[in-house]
């Protein structure tokens, strides 16, 4: 599936969750089931420090496709990260760079994208793009 299709899929999934409780229960569930990353991967350089919760992000390139590993100390942040990873995993650096992340707004989580620096989410999208740039130029 392309990044576009993945986002559409998530938006459709969330349409079924028609109040905030169902939505957040789902996100919390996603957060809980996202594998934790190893402590040794929780390095300074993988850390995105928000004012409120910490996010670690790591990636590997396999056959010109990027795969992400991420974690957070807050479960809701982790749930949203799980969604992001789901969108970007297995995509090429070029496709990631050319993509626009719009699903977060459309599933009613825009509050997590505000410039309050309350969590590292915005910075995380940036970081994902940075990883893509890094790997695209190596290419």
């Amino acid at each position: 599936m392309s990044i576009e299709e993945k986002q559409k899929q998530i938006i459709e999934d969330f349409e079924l969750l028609d109040d905030w409780e169902l939505k957040y229960e789902h996100i919390i569930e996603l957060g809980k089931s996202l594998p934790q990353i190893e402590d040794k991967k929780k390095t300074e350089s993988n850390l995105i420090e928000g004012c409120q919760s910490k996010v670690w992000l790591d990636s590997v390139l396999k056959e010109n496709k990027l795969y992400f590993f991420a974690d957070s100390d807050a479960i809701i942040t982790k749930g949203i990260i799980a969604l992001l990873i789901d969108v970007f995993n297995g995509q090429s650096p070029e496709d990631i760079l050319n993509s626009e992340v719009y699903f977060i707004n459309q599933i009613g989580l825009q509050e997590h994208l505000s410039p309050t620096r309350a969590n590292g989410l915005l910075s995380m999208v940036k970081k994902i793009k940075m990883e893509a740039i890094k790997n695209a130029t190596v290419n």
């Binding site: 905030w20 409780e21 957040y24 229960e25 919390i28 004012c51 409120q52 919760s53 910490k54 100390d73 807050a74 479960i75 809701i76 942040t77 509050e111 309350a118 969590n119």
Partner: protein
């Protein structure tokens, strides 16, 4: 005895238009008063009146509007002086807020410090009462000492003599901790400072709205607060300073209004309070802060204190019924704030789910990272109360807590 307004929370809530709103379709429950308070209609009206009727620049104009604005600005200064019981209104300096005021003192009083002098603060200070002193100490090669606290969030007063000495030139401490709610025995702390010849700087950002302040009785050298936390506008605050110090201190900023005479060779400075008010001040802010103080002054402060302490105790008692709760700050002298965590739950997650239910609490380090390091936590969930909060709001908050925890566990 003045005739004070009856303390009725129901009536008080009517005064605050912003409390009557829905957040995600739910009634707003505003428990983030430590960050900033909501504003009564009388303050809103005075802002609107200023800008639509009296707006003009002050102090230098002979025309009618300028004189009207000047009179109101200076009347407000007098209102504030009376509220703090300053000996003269010239001891009231308008600032941008508490942070601005502390920086002013750190820079200007700081000029009187010498290498090797010491500044003492406490382990429960807000960043605004830490960083300016660090910068001063770096500039002047002085050292910063920190009076520790115990697990309950109380100052280790019995150890103070290890931290204060004749070298101490400034002792800066908060009246009430914004994170823990601890009320410090500031009169005692002021005396301690004076005993060693230091000046006492009281960070009143969290006390002006909760307790009656009498700067002469406290005998503090400086007292600071922010307008926006005391039902007034943003961008304005007050620095009270004893005249004798303000006279000795060099100006902080240069510009219009703070000078007597400017030539390119030599500039002489204006008298107090203007020496410390360079440039066009926040005129609307100054005037309307006076209105906020007048709003508060309608009430008997005893009623406000009683109500807010009742809310604090009530919330705390109910929170203790949660399994795995940790409450930070368990001093007997505590008011206005309850800070806590549920073990295994990140404060951000709790804050997010409470928000979804219309409840505004603060989560995070509350600009007191050293305190978080002390408790070895990333942050807390903090409820902070104002005179318009109710027991019913706390009941709703507790049930929302219940739901949130169930979702997260």
């Amino acid at each position: 005895m003045e005739n004070k307004r009856r303390f009725s929370v129901r009536e008080i809530r009517e005064d605050f238009p912003s409390l009557r709103q829905l957040v995600y379709g739910k009634n707003l429950v505003y428990f983030d008063n430590g960050a900033t308070s909501q504003k009564p209609q009388s303050v809103l009206d005075s802002i609107n009146k200023f800008y639509s009727k009296d707006n003009a620049n002050i102090h230098r104009g002979v025309h009618h509007l300028s004189q009207k604005a000047t009179n109101e600005f200076e009347e407000s200064r007098k209102t504030i002086a009376r509220f703090l019981n300053a000996s003269t209104h010239e001891e009231i300096i308008f600032t941008k807020g508490t942070t601005d005021g502390i920086n002013l003192i750190a820079f200007s009083f700081g000029e009187l410090l010498k290498e090797g002098d010491e500044v003492l603060i406490t382990a429960m200070e807000h960043h605004s009462n830490i960083v300016p002193w660090q910068m001063l100490c770096e500039r002047k090669k002085c050292s910063l000492k920190v009076l520790p606290i115990n697990e309950n969030g109380e100052l280790l007063l019995e150890e103070i003599d290890q931290y204060i000495s004749e070298k101490t030139k400034i002792f800066a401490f908060t009246h009430i901790s914004n994170t823990l709610g601890t009320v410090n025995p500031i009169k005692e702390l002021v005396q301690k400072a004076h005993q060693f010849g230091a000046v006492a700087v009281v960070d009143g950002a969290q006390s002006i709205q909760h307790k009656p302040i009498d700067v002469q009785d406290l005998n503090c050298d400086f007292y600071l607060f922010s307008g926006h936390k005391v039902y007034g506008p943003t961008g304005i605050g007050v620095l009270y300073g004893k005249e004798k110090w303000l006279e000795k201190m060099p100006p902080y900023q240069g510009g219009g209004d703070m000078i007597k005479k400017v030539t390119f060779q030599k500039t002489t400075y204006n008298e107090l309070p203007f020496k410390f008010e360079a440039g066009t001040p926040h005129i609307a802010g100054g005037i309307c802060l006076g209105k906020a103080i007048e709003y508060l002054s309608q009430f008997n402060f005893h009623d406000i204190e009683k109500h807010e302490t009742m809310l604090t105790d009530y919330a705390q008692d109910l929170l203790y019924t949660f399994e795995d709760i940790v409450i930070y700050g368990e001093s007997k002298h505590k008011t206005g704030v309850v800070s806590f965590n549920i073990e295994g739950i990140h404060p951000f997650d709790l804050g997010t789910l409470l928000d979804k239910q219309g409840i505004a609490v603060r989560t995070g380090h509350h600009c007191t990272q050293p305190l978080m390091d002390f408790y070895k936590i990333p942050g807390t969930v903090r409820c902070s109360f104002a005179l318009y909060n109710t027991k019913e709001e706390i009941d709703f908050f507790i049930s929302a807590m219940d739901k949130s925890i169930r979702m997260l566990k």
